[in-house]
Symmetry: C2
Subunit: 126 residues, 2 copies
Amino acid sequence: MDEGMTIAEVARRTGLTAHTLRYYERAGLLPSPPPRGVNGHRCYTQRHLDWVVLLSRLRATGMSIAGMRRYAELAGNGLPTSRERLELLLVHRAQVASRIEQLRDDLTLIDNKIDIYRKSIEENHV
Amino acid sequence: MDEGMTIAEVARRTGLTAHTLRYYERAGLLPSPPPRGVNGHRCYTQRHLDWVVLLSRLRATGMSIAGMRRYAELAGNGLPTSRERLELLLVHRAQVASRIEQLRDDLTLIDNKIDIYRKSIEENHV
DNA sequence: ATTTGACTTAGAGTGCGCTCCAACACCGAG
DNA sequence: CTCGGTGTTGGAGCGCACTCTAAGTCAAAT
């Protein structure tokens, strides 16, 4: 039962479109592109799916395509690059954390503004 | 001493570029554009600065230019639009909050990956 | 008097990340 | 045997948010 998924299936499971999956592959984001079935269709394994899920999270947290390509290239070179990959993820992790902090901050300003509107509406019973 | 700021000063204080400030103005993001000095230069008041700061926070939290324009248009129509503006901010606030949640979530997956690398490096003393 | 530098404009250009198109291949159902 | 559905490709196109260019104005400094 493990004879691979179609691109549509991977799209469904990751929330990316089939277009985007092909684009990612062309962009060098898959260290080992999925093998092809008889008719030339991509045949994704669980490992591919897992990788794409990771990519989608990296993307969702603001990593650029170039950043993901760098990560993919390292991953393609196996064990010896573990440290570099770890380093890359740590740097990214830090960026995401500080981005979250920034968002929190921005949110408080927005909340202040919201309070001001609430009071203004109340006072003027608009 | 309150005779207004130059565009460079506002750029410095907001972190936006002068180019971007002009772009925002052209895009209709300033309900009342800054008046011009004798030589046609923009002369921002504190109110303008405050507004631009708010814009930059809305932007930083992912509001689109179109969204900010809508907000600016409402603000330009004064008190009667208070409710609508409040509504707009509340919707945006909710989006930002859920985005932060999503980022947290994504971060845990990245953290897992980081742990895996740490262990792999340790075990294989790479 | 000239040069420097900060500003003005309309409009063109850029970079990113998709997103779609046209033309084609193949499979299974009716 | 045709049709619909799903896939393939290279390359074009798009939307967004800037970002910059060119040509000009003006004030202060040298």
